[in-house]
Structures are given as structure tokens and as C-alpha cells.
Symmetry: none
């Protein structure tokens, strides 16, 4: 209901919004300081002092979000309502171009011996071998009846497939015996609409198994996590925003495409990403700029390197500030404290800078200082309405 | 659900609540200070230091409320659930006494020439001319069949009409060609229940057009924005409160009547309004005192004059404090920063004073200081439950 209200109030204008997401930026104290507190961040400090600050909860208190729910929530899509299937996430994560109507599926290479699945992961074959096999499959199976097949390697034994054609429904059981030394199990339609996808998936398994008959140990495949492209209205329709993402990692590029953003490559460094944003600034109403390594270092449990990544963002920040965007917001898609070496449930710091954002008592972009900010602890789905409001894109509600 | 819970817990007592609404009081920094920060407000400062403070969001983050949704929300009515039609708001705004069962309609004077509506706004006739025409209409059309007609001038070509009688349904199409140089369009029932209102409205248009046949350029009328009096339970039923409003402007008097408040005139100054409150203090459980000019000066983009209006409230505040009300709350119905010269989405400062309100770290009644308050950022529909609780009017929920 609020979603529809927002859409009904949207007007268009020429103001530009930049949303900088430092993935997993929030942390936990180690030796008395969080990663953000330990970092030397003169540019972020000065920006925070002149911004509205707060904390942001991505899903709900205590919930640790994955990258999917985290980003959807950031983009204003309630992650409990808009659930993205595993197959779609897997496909996005290997940079497959998922489209409306597609059926996306996760696959495993497996070992078939004497009529049973001897090893559901084919001995975790090396990624390099996986790539060779995927190339064989793709070269030999481009289409099954009226369905296009697009396949892409993941890590070790994993891959993703997109089936593109009419009437492909995700209501199928896993073609996976779930444990080793059991006979293969075909996919089964769980509803009449899934009959065609049942047939296509099982045909795919047969064809691959024939193709790889001489291979060892990866001579068959298991298929699961079927998901259709989710019904999701795009940024343009929802917010009237012509949006683009500057992101290097496939998962984030994919999530951005899912909500209708164009995707631009950010290159290998934070500086190159910010320069790509600068180059494209005037072509879009909204730029989502994604920084990955704050999360990666957190996941590695490397406090010092996460601090360094934060400092690199701070050092490159003037590139974004030079553009003098009408609205600049900085936040994370979740916290990734080095202390946990994993995503966490802690709210992420947030700042909103612009001529209509009240500068508050926060003096740094840290968890504690942002908790003193005027925004309080908002839900991530409230961020987009605030960014629209700060760019004067929402008309008054009611007379 | 929460609404019903609150009602089910209400008990009656003799404690008195004053809700002082400084319309549009929240602002934005100009030269480093907001209007509230720039104002010299010793009384408000001292009260805030001894109160529970916080911020209050009227509709939802990023949403700029009109006066209708803003006040309904303040009064505890979810503005997304209780939507007040344009005709009703127009009628309230020109001080027509809207009642249960009424059909309220917005009208335009227009120019009819050679069978087409030449000008849908009759050249924006002067308000003075409008008043003369409305008087002619009212004197000649007091009733159509069993339906009473009450008409009141608005600005330029606008007016409002109330049709009071049985079975008047709002389900009608606009009697408005929507563009100039098109033939007049009659109202049409959009459902069978609206047949009678279709007939009455079209008869009204005919009668007016005959009456004004010799006038120029305003010789006919267009009718639109039909709205029935909304189904809304009153303060007495909902909260067990005998409530009155001290308000001078028609819109706010009307909104107060809509929720069942008696309306008292506040006179022209803040002091006279506060004295009216003092005089009527012992006759009501709940007094809503409305100060308009903080908003008007904000709308005018006049920072200095908005500061002065705030200072006038501060100066007159001892009149309210002398009464020593059991609960005194001060807030706004939305922000109106002079910097924007318009309503805005920013949460409004709030204080609740009384023996059961914890005094917190806030030292002034400003946006930033209230953001340090113990109430946090509440939704406006949570205010009435807090005021009832602070007057010990809500019993325990559950054993």
C-alpha cells in the first residue's frame, strides 16, 4: 500500500541521486573500536557532519540478510514480499542475463556409477574442469525443442542454467536423490502448469548424461532450485527513475538488472568505480555505486584489511563529491563484522547528504555516531522514499 | 486492530490533555540553523528539558502530508485508511458545516458560449464577484426536492456545495468536460445508488445556468470531487474524550469537527487562542489548540517571520502552563521549512509533558534536540495512545 502510494506521488525532475553502497560496511568492536571507528576517514567524517545520519535495518531486527534480500530492501522492495529464488540468484551470480519469463536452475555435476549417484558433487571437481565441461554442454545443447538453453560455470561442481521459452513453470521437484548411493531421480511437476518444464529439464539431464558418458567423475548432473524470473516492477515504473548500477561483481549487477537498472562496469578499484560513476553521472537520474571489498575483508575476518578498504573509499570519495550530486546517500546492504567473519544482523550506518537534509549531531560515519543522527533507525525500504523526497520528486499527499 | 485495542482499554477520568499544534513548525537549516534553532524560546526550552521529547512522522518516511492527512494522523486516524474526499476538504476549508450523510462537491464557475464551455474557470473571476454570484445562487436555490443546498465561495472561480438529504451517493462522474471548447457534460451515476445524486446535481447545474443567464463570463458551473462524509468514529466513542478545538482557520475547525470535536474560536492572535483555551479548559477533557502562522510564514519562505511566530508562541506559552494541564503535548502536523516554502516530509518535533513523562537529554524544542529525546521517531498515530496513557486513561492489556 505504501509502495503504491509512493508510486502515485512520484514526479520527474532533473535532480540526480547517488547511492553508494559499501557492502557489509558495518562492523563490531575489536580492541574497543569497530572497523569504521578504527579507519582514518577525514572525508567521510566531514560529510557525515554535514548530513542527516542514522542507522538502517535491512530486513528486521536480528535478521542477517543475504546479498539478495539486503539489496532488494535497499532498493525499496520488501524482501519478505519479493523473494528471489535460488536459481535466479545463482544465475545472477555467474552473470547470466536473466530475463522475464526465464526459468533459472542450479545444477551440480555428479558421478553416476552402476545406476546410482555415487557422489552428488563429483568429487568437487576443479572449477577449471567445470568450465571445460560446461563449454562442451553449451556447444552441444543450445536448444531443446522451443526452449533456449544458456549454461554458465560456478565454482567446483556448481553451474547455473537458464531455460528460455514459453510456459516454463518453476513448480518442479528437485532432480536430486538428496544423498549419495541412491538412483537418480527425475524432476516431477508439482502442478499441471509445470509439465513442460518437467519434460525439458529431464530431457536436459538425459542429453548431458549422454554427452558426458566418457567423463569421470563428472558424468551426470543434478538439477534443483528452479525459479522463474520474479514479478517485480522496475525503477522507472516504480520511482520514475532512469537508473544505472556501477558494479563489478555479477551478483550485484544481476540484482540491479532485476529492478531495471542499466549496468556499467566499475573496473577493479574503488577509484575506477567512482570515475565510471563520474563519467556516467549526467546520463542517469540515479546511480547505484557498489563497493565489494569491505564485505570480502569482513568475510575473511580480516579487521585490518577491512579498515584499509574503508580508507580507500574515503580517499576516493572526493571523486563523487566533485560531481556535487543533488542527493548523496552512503550506507551498506548489511553489516559484515570481521569479528564474525560473516554477514550480521546489525543495522548499517546511513548518511543522506543534500540541501534538504538536516545536519545533525553525528560527527563521523560510524555505527555509534550514526546512532546519534536525526534519521533514527529506519527500515531500508524507507530509504528510497527519503531519497525521492530529498530530490523533490514526491508531491504532497492530500490537500 | 491497534485502534480497536486502544478503544477497548479506554477508561474515563478527570485529567485534562492539551495538544498544541504549531502548524508546519519543523524547518530546515538556513545559515546553519533551523527556524526553531534560530528562535529565542526560553519557555519552550525549559519545558522541553522537563519533558519526553522525540520526532514524529505523519504518514510515512519521505511523504509530505497535506493538512488533511497531517491532522487525521495527529488525531490517531491512519491517513491511508481514512481518506477524506476533495469535496469534503473544500467544504471544510470554506467553513461549511459538513455533517454525516452530506454529499460535498467542488464547483467552478465557467463560461458557456454557443453550446461549449469556452473557459472552465470563467476567466478566474475575482473572489468578490464570486461572492456576489454565490449569494444570488444561495438566495434562489435553498432546496432541490428533498435535498437542502448550502453553497459557499472559495477563491477566484471556486466554490463548495453541500447537498444534504437522504440517499446521496458520491459515485458520480465529473460534470466537467476537462478541457475548454467542449460541450458541457452532465454528471453520470457510476453505480445505481448514485441515481438520485446524479439527478440532483444535474438539476442544480440547470437551475444555476438559468439564474446566471445574463451574467458574463461566469454563466454556468462545473461540478466535481463529489465526496460523502467519511465514516469516521468520533473522539468520544474512540477515546472516551470530550474534546474541543481552539482554531481560527476553517480547514482545521472542519477537520476537528470531522472527528467530533466542538470548535471554539481562537481569535486573531496566539495570545487570544491560548486565553480561549484557558477559558474553556475546565469544560473539556481534551483541547486541541491550533496555531496557523508558523505554517503560513514557512509557506511564504519567510524564515525570519516564521522565527518570530515561534517566538510569539513561546511568549504566550505561560498562559497554557498556568493551567498546569495533566498532559501537555506540543508538536506540528508536518514541517514547513522556509527554505522549501512548502510542506515537507521531515518528521516534526514533539514533546510530551506531565508527571509520567520521563525528562530526557533534549534541552530545546528543536529538530536536533528532539532527535535526542526518549520518544525516538514515532508515527503520529501513536501520539493519541501516548496522551491517553499519560493521562492514565488506558488500562492494562491482558492479565
Amino acid at each position: 500500500m505504501i509502495e503504491d502510494l509512493i508510486t502515485s506521488l512520484v514526479i520527474k525532475n532533473k535532480k540526480r541521486i547517488i547511492l553508494l553502497v559499501m557492502d557489509g560496511v558495518g562492523g563490531l568492536q575489536v580492541g574497543g573500536q569497530t572497523e569504521l571507528e578504527a579507519a582514518n576517514t577525514p572525508n567521510l567524517d566531514s560529510l557525515a557532519s554535514d548530513s542527516s545520519c542514522g542507522l538502517m535495518t535491512l530486513v528486521s531486527e536480528g535478521i542477517t540478510p543475504g546479498s539478495g534480500p539486503g539489496h532488494l530492501s535497499l532498493f525499496g522492495y520488501n524482501p519478505l514480499k519479493y523473494q528471489i529464488g535460488r536459481g535466479i540468484l545463482e544465475a545472477l551470480g555467474v552473470d547470466l542475463d536473466v530475463q522475464q519469463g526465464d526459468l533459472a536452475v542450479r545444477g551440480n555435476f555428479a558421478t553416476l556409477e552402476n545406476g546410482v549417484i555415487k557422489d552428488r558433487r563429483a568429487g568437487r571437481i576443479p572449477t577449471e574442469k567445470n568450465k571445460v565441461l560446461v563449454e562442451i554442454i553449451q556447444n552441444n545443447i543450445r536448444q531443446i525443442e522451443d526452449v533456449k538453453v544458456l549454461i554458465q560455470s560456478g565454482k567446483e561442481h556448481r553451474f547455473a542454467v537458464i531455460f528460455r521459452g514459453p510456459d516454463l513453470n518453476e513448480g518442479l521437484s528437485d532432480a536430486d536423490p538428496q544423498q549419495d548411493n541412491q538412483p537418480p531421480v527425475p524432476a516431477k511437476a508439482l502442478n499441471p502448469k509445470a509439465r513442460k518444464s518437467e519434460h525439458i529439464i529431464n530431457r536436459f539431464i538425459e542429453m548431458v548424461t549422454e554427452l558426458l558418458a566418457q567423463e569421470k567423475p563428472a558424468n551426470t548432473v543434478l538439477m534443483r532450485g528452479y525459479s522463474n524470473y520474479p514479478p517485480i516492477n522496475h525503477f522507472e515504473e516504480r520511482y520514475g527513475l532512469n537508473a544505472a548500477a556501477v558494479a563489478t561483481y555479477p551478483m550485484y549487477r544481476g540484482l540491479a538488472r532485476l529492478v531495471g537498472m542499466k549496468t556499467l562496469h566499475g573496473g577493479e578499484t574503488i577509484e575506477s568505480a567512482f570515475l565510471a560513476a563520474q563519467k556516467n553521472y549526467s546520463s542517469y537520474d540515479f546511480l547505484f555505486v557498489h563497493v565489494k571489498k569491505t564485505d570480502s575483508m569482513g568475510e575473511d575476518g580480516n579487521f585490518i584489511e577491512k579498515v584499509h578498504e574503508i580508507e580507500k573509499v574515503d580517499k576516493a570519495l572526493p571523486i563523487l563529491l566533485e560531481m556535487n550530486p543533488d542527493v548523496l546517500a552512503i550506507t551498506g546492504d548489511h553489516s559484515t563484522p570481521a569479528k564474525l567473519a560473516a554477514h550480521s544482523w546489525h543495522p548499517t550506518p546511513l548518511l543522506i547528504h543534500g540541501p534538504y537534509a538536516i545536519a545533525d549531531y553525528a560527527r563521523r560515519f560510524t555505527e555509534k555516531e550514526c546512532s546519534r543522527g536525526i534519521l533514527g533507525n529506519i527500515h531500508a525500504t524507507e530509504l528510497m522514499p527519503l531519497l525521492l523526497a530529498n530530490s523533490l520528486r514526491l508531491k504532497k499527499y492530500g490537500a
